[in-house]
């Protein structure tokens, strides 16, 4: 995950913002407690969404404590404690971050990624051990994804499927969920969020991928001819269809969320789904489009 799943901070109530931040710090502390300081660098807000969502379903009672933290040594921060959902989301995020480093290294021979992966591996061995079954599934899907990307797959749906399956597993296959209907809803949310992340990331990387001359599903899907068409023109040409797909996923996520009985965090979760994700969508779609940039 890349940190696209964030709340629209300006629309959060003050107390919601405090809770949101406390989850973020709680995940950071959870990683530090169990895996040491270095993996804490992998932290991003995507995990906060997962933690808050699970927390809202399983009816746990987390507590907020004020604690010191390395990054903010003077001021005490609110930290969410005593939450299984936070530990689970932290593990999930570390797995994804680790596989992303691995992927960056094999894709681009990025030395920093190689270095990060080498450092992370021994630190996370406990995690690989406890999550062995899930790691196997993730690795299988990732190798499928690598194959599809090698073949220059031109079907958007097909190439996004493995990543969507990974997020589906991470959202729904965990010991915290007891009700089968909740599991079904989370499957739906996980799958569609995965597709949304994969596609928005692809659109966001168009410039980078064109410069590096590497595979991007959108180039294949909309037959981009380098040289025959300028990249801005290409983006304008495909924008509507990409937006159609992105909103389709968000629509499904919002419909699934409406069926969950949320015992807490409802306002924040709805903020993320209805405002945060839509804002990210619009922002990425309009990036570099001068027509829109003037108004920003």
């Amino acid at each position: 995950m890349q940190g696209y799943v964030i709340a629209e901070k300006s629309e959060l109530k003050m107390y919601e913002y405090d809770i949101y931040s406390a989850y973020y710090c709680g995940i950071c502390k959870s990683i530090g407690r169990r895996y040491g300081q270095i993996p804490r660098l992998a932290l991003n807000y995507d995990a906060v969404f997962l933690a808050m969502l699970l927390s809202a379903i399983v009816e746990e009672r987390p507590i907020i404590q004020k604690e010191h933290c390395l990054v903010h040594p003077i001021k005490k921060k609110n930290i969410m404690r005593n939450s299984d959902a936070i530990d689970y989301a932290a593990d999930t995020m570390l797995l994804l971050a680790y596989y992303k480093l691995k992927d960056d290294y094999s894709d681009e021979k990025n030395l920093l990624a190689a270095f990060g992966q080498a450092i992370a591996k021994p630190l996370l061995h406990k995690l690989f051990h406890s999550e062995a079954e899930r790691c196997q599934k993730i690795e299988a899907h990732l190798s499928q994804l690598a194959d599809l990307e090698k073949q220059n797959c031109a079907s958007l749906d097909q190439v996004a499927e493995p990543f969507a399956k990974i997020t589906e597993i991470l959202f729904s296959e965990n010991h915290l969920i007891v009700k089968e209907s909740d599991r079904l809803i989370l499957k739906q949310i996980g799958y569609h969020l995965g597709k949304w992340i994969y596609l928005i990331d692809a659109f966001d990387d168009l410039e980078k991928d064109e410069t590096k001359n590497v595979y991007n599903p959108l180039f294949s899907r909309f037959s981009y001819k380098k040289g025959a068409e300028s990249l801005p023109a290409f983006k304008i040409r495909i924008e509507k269809q990409v937006e159609f797909n992105l909103l389709q996923y968000l629509s499904e996520i919002s419909k699934a969320l409406a069926l969950l009985e949320l015992k807490q965090n409802k306002g924040i979760l709805e903020n993320i789904i209805y405002l945060g994700l839509l804002h990210q969508t619009d922002k990425v779609l309009q990036k570099g489009n001068t027509k829109h940039e003037e108004s920003l």
Partner: protein, 197 residues
């Protein structure tokens, strides 16, 4: 039974009008049409039933609405020709939710007519493959423009995004999050309120 006031999200002393408005909003939100071809359709149906029961309990002159959620594919709507045995079979698999079987059948059918594109599109939609689904159903509509069933499926897909956007706007989403514009608004407001400007 759950507290009907909680189910409808109204206060204990809400008026009949407030109850009715809340009920109508919720029915729109959980309407079967929105959850057509959705793995969560049954859960939405349960939710709707809960809402209907709550409304019946609270409305003095209950006029119960029964929503029919049987979006069955077994009866081909608006087909000018009699559907072939094979397509009937595919529809049956779709109704049962047996997607792999439907997919296999469709792959074997050589007659790639409008019906084939439509059913392939519905199959893709069920899988969550919307890019694929929209292309196929558009093809079906262009091959058989008078088919109401195809048209309706296409409308459902095309309207989902805008409906989600509307819900976001309803929650205060602001597309032009333009600081300057906001500041100007503040300035104008202050201007109205404060004579010293």
């Amino acid at each position: 039974m759950k507290n009907p006031y909680e189910v409808l999200g109204v206060s204990q002393n809400a008026s009949q009008d407030e109850i009715k408005t809340a009920y109508k909003e919720l029915v729109k939100k959980y309407h079967p049409d929105r959850y057509q071809n959705n793995p969560l359709a049954d859960l939405a149906q349960e939710k709707l039933q809960e809402i209907n029961e709550a409304y019946d309990a609270l409305a003095k002159n209950a006029n119960s609405n029964n929503f029919n959620n049987s979006t069955s594919y077994q009866s081909a709507g608006g087909q000018s020709t009699r559907p072939t045995q094979e397509f009937m079979e595919v529809r049956r698999y779709l109704d049962l939710g047996n997607l792999p079987a439907a997919e296999q059948m469709l792959a074997q059918i050589s007659n790639r007519n409008a019906e084939w594109f439509f059913l392939s599109g519905i199959l893709s939609y069920r899988k969550g493959w919307y890019d694929d689904a929209s292309a196929k159903i558009k093809t079906a509509v262009s091959m058989d423009p008078n088919n109401f069933e195809y048209q309706r499926a296409l409308n459902t897909i095309v309207n989902a995004g805008p409906a989600y956007r509307n819900a976001s706007y309803g929650r205060g989403y602001n597309r032009n999050d333009d600081m300057l514009c906001k500041l100007l608004q503040c300035y104008i407001c202050t201007d109205c309120l404060c004579p010293c400007f």
